[in-house]
């Protein structure tokens, strides 16, 4: 069966510090991968998605970046965090070549920037 892992679960970082969040998927090959951010009490905002190694599409201009160094690894990074980067970060995967919008989400990382 497929599983998705995210770490860390929670993170408190000062403004201006770097960020690295990691997501890995097990039990599937060549998944589509996604990073979302959810501000408190709000809906999910798609940040990045990837259809393959090294292929990253950005949805929202920001000081964040994403990388996919391996098939089932997706990393979200920032060189300098802003207060507005606080939120709940979710990684998700889906199976390419299938109809519809079924995505499977990880447990999330709650980031607080102080």
């Amino acid at each position: 069966s497929q599983t998705i892992h995210q770490w860390p679960a929670t993170l408190v970082q000062p403004v201006g510090s770097p960020l690295s969040l990691e997501c890995t998927v097990e039990g599937t090959s060549n998944p589509n991968l996604y990073w979302y951010r959810q501000a408190a009490g709000r809906g999910l905002q798609l940040l990045f998605y990837s259809v393959g190694i090294g292929q990253i599409s950005s949805e929202v201009p920001q000081n964040l970046s994403a990388s996919r160094p391996q098939d089932r690894q997706f990393i979200l990074s920032s060189k300098k965090l802003l207060l507005s980067d606080s939120g709940f970060y979710l990684c998700a995967w889906s199976t390419p070549g299938t109809d519809g919008n079924e995505q499977f989400f990880g447990p999330g990382t709650r980031l607080t920037v102080l």
């Binding site: 979302y36 809906g43 999910l44 390419p96 109809d99 919008n101």
Partner: protein
Amino acid sequence: LAKTTQPISMDSYEGQEVNITCSHNNIATNDYITWYQQFPSQGPRFIIQGYKTKVTNEVASLFIPADRKSSTLSLPRVSLSDTAVYYCLVGDGPYSSASKIIFGSGTRLSIRP
């Protein structure tokens, strides 16, 4: 990408049937309609998906009229554990290499005893 509109919040009682309607006037021919459920501090969980007419699974039913400009998620006999945020979204999903969907603000469903 088609935008969706759904009620901000709804209240109901245990044992009742709950229907949440979503409008998506600009839905494209290839778009599917998908509903997710999200509990606090957790990622959304896929509930049901459909393209047209009616779809039913073990947890919900999805009704889609012929023009596909709206859809209704039906939760039979809700319980307290159904209290969550429900998202309606449309998109052509993983089938397309440009796989993008948009989550709106969702409907906050509160179930009372």
